[in-house]
């Protein structure tokens, strides 16, 4: 019986050893689509990670530790000749925290007027021409709003400290410190059109057949680019920042080659041109080719920058950074200057999938009173290596001269 089973098993094994089923080639495209989606999904989550971190930090800053009930502070008010109730809201700044209260005996939830235990410091701001008018210490309580009345000024001053401000202050680990907070967080959008005839150009010096093309007249390459996306930023103290985001970058290329071949070339397929020789004038060939294409990348930029304040509301912003770019979509046709034909860049797979890039920009920023920062700056960016695949004979590097337009919003931390 066992032998018979072995026979049947062997027979079945032999029968199916070369068994195959028909499967349409179109199924490959379904697999490819699934693979692309999978990669896209992973990519998006990695890109979103820094944004999530900044958002989490901001939410933590705003919402956590609401249950802290008390804190003390010194309030600085600038002396002005104008009616004080007009300027108080603008001029009050929280200067420092004096100490945590030793007990909560004075806690009084029912009253909006906080019990004043000592004196309020009415001090000058940074204007040295203004003298202090009065100094007091005060114990205040959260989550109540605080309304203080200065007897010295004849009950003219009502000071309201928003709760949000108090919460931010109250989460400082060391209440007695005089140091300003180190970090703040920003979130912003970036729109960067690239302009000009050389907005994108092919780097002819990197072409392997450089000598050949140095003699070509009337060939040109025009282009435009567009770079947009969102970013998150951590400011370190007042001037320095690190920015990370996710941008979409589009290069639109228009090539026009119009020339006459006066020499023959020796080529090895896939290896480029290996030598040149003169042609008889009767054999000259005039070639005119033009093509246009659009190449889109998704990039993750990491930038380090500096903001130098000229005054409180505006200054100079400069930044430099690197990015990793992933080819998102390529379509259209580009002139292949080696083989003198139009290439479909979508199908020949000559565009490299992953690239690294460099960008430098410097311009003017304006900071509004509602924590918006608007920046306009000339920008230069380039891919650090050829955009074409490694074994492709023609090297192409994209340059982008453009204008960055950024709009940022300070989400949390030290907003000064």
């Amino acid at each position: 019986m066992s032998n018979q089973h072995t026979n049947i098993d062997n027979l079945l094994k032999d029968k199916f050893s070369s068994f195959e089923g028909d499967i349409p080639m179109s199924d490959w495209f379904a697999i490819e689509e699934k693979l692309n989606k999978k990669r896209r999904f992973v990519w998006i989550w990695w890109a979103a990670l820094p944004l999530l971190i900044v958002a989490s930090l901001t939410i933590y800053s705003l919402l956590i530790k609401k249950d802290l009930t008390t804190f003390n502070k010194t309030i600085t008010v600038q002396k002005e000749k104008t009616p004080p109730d007009l300027i108080v809201k603008k001029q009050i700044t929280i200067d420092k925290i004096i100490s945590q209260p030793s007990n909560s005996i004075n806690y009084n939830m029912g009253k909006r007027v906080a019990p004043i235990s000592e004196t309020i410091i009415f001090n000058t701001n940074d204007n040295s021409n203004v003298e202090p008018i009065e100094t007091k210490n005060i114990t205040t309580y959260l989550p109540e709003s605080i309304y203080l009345t200065s007897k010295t000024l004849g009950n003219l001053w009502k000071i309201s400290l928003p709760i949000v401000e108090k919460i931010i202050e109250s989460k400082l680990p060391k209440p007695n410190t005089n140091k300003p907070r180190l970090f703040s967080y920003e979130f912003g959008i970036n729109l960067s059109p690239a302009m000009g005839i050389d907005a994108i150009k092919q780097n002819k010096s990197n072409w392997i057949n450089h000598n050949y093309f140095s003699s070509i007249a009337n060939s040109s390459s025009l282009g435009s680019g567009f770079n947009n996306g969102v970013h998150a930023q951590i400011n370190i103290r007042k001037n320095w920042f690190i920015r990370q985001g996710i941008y979409s970058t589009t290069y639109s290329v228009y090539n026009n080659f119009d020339y006459t071949i006066t020499e023959f070339t020796n080529t090895l397929v896939g290896k480029g041109i290996t030598g040149y020789g003169p042609l008889n004038p009767s054999d000259y060939i005039h070639i005119q080719k033009s093509g246009k294409a659009s190449i889109k990348y998704i990039s993750l930029p990491l930038l380090v920058g500096n903001r130098t304040y000229i005054n409180k509301n505006w200054g100079i912003e400069s930044k430099i950074g690197v990015n990793v770019s992933r080819l998102w979509n390529a379509k259209g046709q580009i002139v292949n200057p080696t083989y003198l034909n139009l290439e479909d860049i979508n199908s020949n797979n000559s565009i490299k999938k992953w690239n690294t890039g460099l960008s430098i920009s410097s311009g003017v920023f304006i900071k509004t009173n509602n924590n918006l920062i608007f920046t306009v700056e000339p920008n230069f960016s380039t891919l650090l290596s050829s955009a074409r695949s490694k074994d492709y004979p023609v090297k192409t590097r994209y340059y982008n001269y453009g204008i960055n337009v950024n709009l940022n919003y300070i989400l949390g931390g030290n907003k000064k």
Binding site: N7, L11, F16, A30, I31, E32, L35
Partner: protein, 188 residues
């Protein structure tokens, strides 16, 4: 295809090279479709399994160390894909029963015309044999496929399907018996 070329394709797949992935698909898709047809019966389901299986292969190919041939490794991946699908889809508890008492003993009468059955398997076209196999109840068909055609041991089957060793043996016995009866009935 020579081994060097195949190694290059595998290396390319490990580097996520789309061209190499396509080449791997072109090389093995029909063979893997054959595997899926044996386990899933239905043509459309088998196509889905081929797609899912190749996604798994591309995702996990970095785990392939070359200890077996790529075809053997891929076949295991596709079998697991089919089994996982069958388990989810049918929810028939095919993996979790205990020994089936009805199939503890082989019907000796069924062995009488063994030559006839063997000749039938030899002479019938593979699609006809597949049709017979596909008529078997799923739990028998799976064990028959795994043991007789794909070369799994009973221990491996038991571990893969999470059943007892005895169940694997009894299901195989029952599968053979049913297959023989089916062939005899039809061919007579």
């Amino acid at each position: 295809m020579d081994n060097n070329r195949l190694d290059e394709i595998i290396k390319g797949c490990k580097n996520n090279d789309r061209n190499c992935q396509k080449l791997l698909f072109e090389l093995f898709s029909k063979k893997m479709m054959g595997v899926c047809l044996r386990y899933c019966s239905n043509y459309e389901t088998s196509r889905d399994m081929v797609q899912d299986g190749f996604i798994k292969v591309y995702t996990k190919i970095s785990n392939f160390k070359g200890e077996s041939s790529i075809e053997t490794w891929m076949t295991r991946v596709f079998i697991n894909t089919c089994l996982s699908h069958i388990n989810k889809q049918e929810n028939k508890n095919i993996y979790f029963d205990i020994n089936d008492p009805k199939v503890q003993y082989t019907n000796e009468n069924s062995l009488v015309n063994e030559e006839l059955v063997e000749n039938s398997i030899k002479n019938l076209p593979v699609t006809a044999v597949l049709e017979y196999i596909n008529q078997l109840p799923e739990k028998y068909k799976i064990v028959l496929n795994m043991y007789s055609i794909d070369g799994y041991s009973h221990q491996q089957i038991a571990e893969t399907l999470d059943i007892q060793l005895g169940s694997s043996k009894s299901r195989l016995s029952r599968a053979r018996q049913l297959l023989i009866e089916l062939i005899k009935e039809k061919e007579n």
